[in-house]
């Protein structure tokens, strides 16, 4: 499994900068996560604040995966990314 690293970055959403992370696998960009409030997840089964997959690339991107629900914390987001890196074409 490649080494996963996080780089803090401000992401432009809703007209302003929001806390976010670039996620790199072995130095390659695989995902951009941004912090969302509970208000922004209104209508999900559980309304939570957390981390949203703003953009994904390769196995985490729209060509090979579908947008996952909001993650409660970064660990959960990274677990999803690791699963995607291993899963290839299998849906998850």
């Amino acid at each position: 499994m490649p080494e996963i690293t996080l780089q803090p970055i401000s992401v432009m959403t809703d007209g302003g900068g929001h806390e976010g992370h670039l996620v790199l696998a072995a130095g390659h960009l695989v995902a951009v996560l941004s912090r969302v409030t509970a208000e922004e997840t209104l209508g999900e089964r559980e309304q939570i604040e957390g981390w949203f997959l703003e953009a994904g690339f390769g196995p985490c991107g729209p060509l090979m995966s579908v947008t996952p629900p909001v993650f409660t914390d970064l660990d959960q987001a990274l677990a999803w990314i690791r699963t995607r890196l291993e899963a290839g074409l299998d849906p998850s």
């Binding site: 959403t13 809703d14 007209g15 997840t41 209104l42 209508g43 999900e44 089964r45 949203f52 909001v70």
Partner: protein, 242 residues
């Protein structure tokens, strides 16, 4: 809000005149009326109904499930819509229809539909028109889903729902009741709830719409249409001989 006139008659009369005999035939076609609560299935995938369901009040959705409980809503239905007129000829349902709110449903037996097609050629064409409009809406949705931005797609859907509700007497001025959750909008547009929130926020911020509870007001129709690249041709709203 309950309309005294059968909303299907309102919907069809928007497009062409109906004779008194045709209207009577439609009224008499209803064998019973039932109430289906929100989140319950009206018709299930795989069912072989012997009657078609006409929505009198409420909102309903045609849907299909994919893996992990994910769902795509392929059509939203408002009063006056036949939820499964096609089951008369297609027989086996290839998708389900779900009540999004409490729905009042009129059952029209397939045997009665067959009788209408035998005895009322113009009314038969109007029911054909009804399914053709369903098909036109599907084409429009597919185009919007594939080629519009999420914000434009939402604007397009709002324009369409407003007009469809207005035709059946469910609009008060620029306001309609739209008791559809953001999760359901997400399943309709193929968007995450985060994105649904953002695009609605964008349309509100731009002064195009206002939501107060379930009440949706169009503040700037012309700009909303422009943003959604919306033209109503596909809804066949002109009253002409068909």
């Amino acid at each position: 809000m309950t309309c005294m006139t059968n909303p299907l008659i309102l919907k069809l009369e928007q497009r062409d005149q109906l004779s008194d005999a045709e209207k009577r035939a439609l009224e008499n076609a209803i064998s019973r009326v039932r109430v289906v609560e929100a989140d319950e299935d009206i018709v299930r995938e795989g069912d072989r109904p012997n009657e078609s369901s006409l929505l009198l009040d409420g909102f309903a959705a045609r849907y299909k499930l994919v893996s992990n409980g994910r769902r795509q809503i392929s059509a939203l239905h408002v009063p006056g819509d036949f939820l499964d007129l096609h089951s008369f000829l297609l027989k086996t349902m290839d998708h389900g229809v779900l009540a999004l709110t409490t729905c009042r449903i009129a059952a029209v037996p397939h045997a009665t539909l067959e009788k209408i097609t035998d005895e009322f050629p113009h009314l038969t064409r109007m029911l054909w028109l009804n399914t053709l409009i369903d098909g036109a809406i599907h084409r429009e949705w597919l185009t919007a889903m594939g080629r519009l931005s999420a914000t434009a797609h939402m604007a397009h859907l709002i324009c369409e729902l407003y007009l469809r509700l207005k035709v059946v007497g469910r609009a008060e001025g620029d306001t309609v009741q739209l008791p559809i959750t953001q999760a359901e909008l997400g399943d309709t547009l193929g968007l995450s709830t985060v994105h649904v929130n953002r695009v609605l926020q964008e349309l509100r911020k731009e002064g195009l719409i206002r939501f107060q509870g379930d009440s949706l007001t169009i503040l700037d129709w012309e700009r909303l249409k422009k943003v959604g690249e919306f033209t109503s041709t596909y809804l066949s709203l002109q009253n002409e001989h068909r």
